[in-house]
Symmetry: C2
């Protein structure tokens, strides 16, 4: 019987733990703060922000959203970011992307204070993920994958983990995080020659290709753990990168979409903000 790895369950358990941590901090008069920065008005960003604010607030984090006009200059934006970097009440900053053309991501990523960079935008955090330095902040999505594996007691050490996708927000950092946990890691992508053969070797298969239902049943080994990071829409219905209906009978354990990895990311964001707060306070 295939076990469903419920992101909601993971998020609920993590939320309880984090809420208790924040309650402890509040007893000492301390409150972690998050600022989400949005430029312009993108419906997908707005929807993410709504969920993140709701989640973080429910955990006890002070949340604020800074919205800037679509035509803000880079100079003004960098000034605003500098103000957030200086603001001692804000411990974590997340900048919604994509950004309008006049703003260079390259300039921003160096400008965000690495100790407040809770979603791994600054190269210093990218480097820490690569070197396995756990003082840094990996992006929230790969952290959510690790949370799910850990919550369900799935051993990573010594396992063959195969990733499909090599983005800087999921594939590459997750490869480094699984490596840090002593998995043998294979990174596949669009240029991989026999993807089915590679994927079928996985004990832990991570689909992060951004292509609806591209992981089919012939690509999954009997009993494999399948983690679906994809969020796609097909005929208006959300689906993952995994053909869930056909793959789930073969997989040993599998995350659904929705209700899988995506359900954990905003709680992981809260975790990162609390971690940032504690590091900044020397706690």
């Amino acid at each position: 019987m295939t076990k469903i790895l419920s992101g909601k369950e993971v998020a609920a358990a993590l939320k309880d733990k984090l809420t208790a941590e924040v309650d402890e901090l509040k007893k000492q008069g301390k409150v972690p703060g998050l600022c989400i920065v949005m430029v312009g008005d993108r419906p997908d960003s707005a929807s993410y922000i709504k969920g993140a604010v709701k989640r973080c607030t429910s955990i006890g984090i002070d949340c604020q959203v800074e919205t800037f006009p679509e035509d803000i200059s880079q100079e003004k934006f960098l000034e605003a970011l500098d103000r957030l970097n200086q603001d001692s009440k804000i411990n974590g900053v997340i900048i919604m992307r994509p950004l309008p053309d006049q703003i260079s991501e390259d300039a921003l990523k160096y400008a965000i204070a690495p100790e407040k960079d809770v979603d791994c935008f600054n190269p210093i955090n990218v480097s820490k993920v690569m070197s396995g330095d756990e003082d840094g902040f990996p992006p929230c999505t790969p952290s959510a994958v690790i949370e799910i594996l850990d919550h369900y007691g799935i051993e990573i050490k010594g396992k063959r983990a195969v990733l499909i996708g090599r983005s800087m927000v999921v594939g590459r950092p997750l490869a480094m995080m699984l490596l840090k946990r002593n998995a043998t890691v294979t990174i596949c992508h669009t240029r991989t020659k026999d993807l089915a053969q590679e994927a079928k070797r996985a004990e832990i298969l991570i689909a992060a290709a951004g292509k609806a239902k591209m992981v089919t049943k012939d690509m999954v080994n009997e009993g494999a753990i399948v983690i679906d990071v994809g969020i796609n829409f097909e005929n208006g219905k959300m689906c993952g990168d995994v053909d869930f209906d056909n793959v789930s009978p073969i997989a040993g354990q599998i995350t659904p979409v929705p209700g899988g990895v995506g359900s954990v990311t905003s709680t992981v964001l809260a975790k990162h903000v609390i971690k940032a707060f504690k590091l900044q306070q020397g706690l």
Copy 2:
């Protein structure tokens, strides 16, 4: 018949190309400069420096070696580094490691100017290697591996590349560099369960484990390309991580030790210094 991939041949060809580049620059009165920094007196560092200076000088690069006493304070060392960062005649800086205990590598790596950091010490360059941004400087050893593959026209795209070793100076950055070149990349290490099975799948096998002759013939597929990054000593004799005598009849192409990857690194260092010079000069 197994083809020997000669590092010496690669280095000679690269040297000719770089010497011509520096000659061109010199006609315009421009000379790239390198500074190698050593603390204390380590025979292995001294030997590396001697080779690097000889090579870079022969290519036309201005080389200087700054030697500091073993007991230099971190403050003094950071001051010296700042001076090198500011010195417009120095385009590349390489700091020999390991460093004495009183000097924190963590402080140094952030202090070295990323645009002069020709051996990938600064996190900004680590991050660029991870994201595939070719404006940065990967460490010289993985760059040497890529030089060898390119020199011999070995296609990387779509190939199954398997790395044994996950260090920050070879395994991890090389994994990212091979990924950038569209290989399907597997990273193995001491916790990998069936290393022979993983290694045998490689079309390009990279041995960077730091363990003498650990890659045995049962780990290599017929016709595979075998790149040996190891430098070990057995009974006073230099050898690689690959059991060359027994593996070479099986491999399609193989680098020897000595005369393989290690013969290319100092020429790659020169390449990085010239690249740094050109970037700094906006050429």
